[in-house]
């Protein structure tokens, strides 16, 4: 399972990419694999506030609905309209076009509470260092 080296992860299988004080949020390849075909994504609008480890939205697969939990706190500066229109991007490109929100970081210290790529690999039962790209 792909676990990119340049991201931080939550135990609930979200990833975050930091660029200055902006964080991009999505769900991991492992999460989309578990969900199966994603058919609907519900995301907060620009200006909304998300809180670390609180629900930020919902992904629906053919079978069921699952909450997405925000890996960090902050204000939504952009939501991915493409992923709302084409939910299958979550399956086909979970770390790229399948991203969900861009958030203005409220507290960089929160990043300490997230998992490193190796820790996340261990969390999903993979050998640290294996499977990344």
């Amino acid at each position: 399972m792909t676990v990119p080296q340049d991201l931080r992860y939550s135990k609930e299988h979200e990833w975050v990419r930091i660029d200055g004080d902006t964080a991009t949020i999505g769900i991991t390849a492992f999460a989309q694999e578990q969900l199966g075909d994603v058919v609907f994504v519900e995301l907060p609008e620009k200006g909304a506030t998300v809180r670390q480890f609180s629900s930020l939205g919902v992904v629906e697969s053919v079978k069921a609905a699952s909450d997405i939990y925000s890996p960090i706190s902050g204000e939504v500066v952009e939501r991915n309209v493409k992923v709302i229109e084409k939910p299958e991007l979550v399956n086909t490109a979970p770390y790229q076009d399948g991203w969900m929100l861009k958030v203005k970081l409220a507290d960089k210290g929160e990043l300490q509470k997230l998992l490193s790529p190796d820790d996340y690999r261990a969390h999903i039962g993979e050998t640290p260092g294996g499977g990344g790209d």
Binding site: G36, D37, V39, F40, E42, V58, E60, S61, V62, K63, A64, A65
Partner: protein, 367 residues
Amino acid sequence: MSTDMGLRHTPLYERHRALGAKMVPFAGWEMPIQYAGIVAEHRAVRGAAGLFDLSHMGEFFFEGSGALSALDRLVSSDIAGLEVGHARYGLLTNERGTIVDDVIVYRVAPDRLAMVVNAANIEKDAAHVRRHLPSGVRFDDLSMETALIAPQGPRAARILSRVAAMNVDDIVPFGVTTTKVAGANATVARTGYTGEDGFEVFVANADAVRVWDALLEAGKDDGVQPIGLGARDTLRLEARFSLYGNEIDETTNPIEAGLGWTCKLDKEFLGRDPIAKVKEAGPTRRIAGLVIEGGVARHGHPVTDMGVAVGIVTSGTFGPTVQKNIALAYVPAASSKVGTTLAVRIRERDVPATVVKTPFYKRSETK
């Protein structure tokens, strides 16, 4: 029949594991919910062919000169008029006129009939049947000895013909016959639950692996894929087939469920009078097909009208072929007309829904 943690395994259990299926508990069985993915499997059945293991389902057999008329009194549809070599969908109903199960009855010989029942209802149905069957009719529940393998889809006929001792295109829709499949004695019916052409092949447990392997091999170039319960549900919902436990159960009557067409009210059968009464008065609620804009409706979600709960979703999903969020729901009869605007309460929000004509999907008649 092997069991593990109380869950039964079909004879194809090891095959499912080897094919990489995700296994889930279903009606007391450990069954494949998906292999490649629900959407890919759904599309394989609509566009080419899929192979289902339905060995968890129940198979009852009835024998004797009184078998035909006895079943005619237990099942809502016209069983007395069923010719040898034909099958018919119908309902097992009770004295109250509600639904014990939905079944297919097959007249395999003049005095021998088979009935396929839902896996979750095998014991209940067997008890129900025993309670009402006259003593002259022999009843055998062969559910645990019988495997059921279903090739479904536009290419199912050609694939099955390659391994059967006959051209299965000679079987008419809802026809049934006995033949050999991959060398095994088989009962083959042209029936299914997908909205596509297709077949259901009944064999002894010991022959299941051989028949399964032969069909997957024979259909390789035609794109046959193993199909799990996930796609079985999306396929049947697009085709608007009822699922026992969702649209129908012992609290629902056939008229409100939209299954009045299965009730031959000019014959005597268990529950006929209360069903006729509902038909005459008109049901207070009806199953309606909904298309939901902006969310996926699920079993149990409330249906609302101007913010007031008026009904309940019985089944809902994204329909991979129709490319819409579709649902079946009980709504007040007055709100069941095509074009009516309602809503489904999804996560505390009322999402607009429109009553549409069903089935959501109907295959074109040309092959």
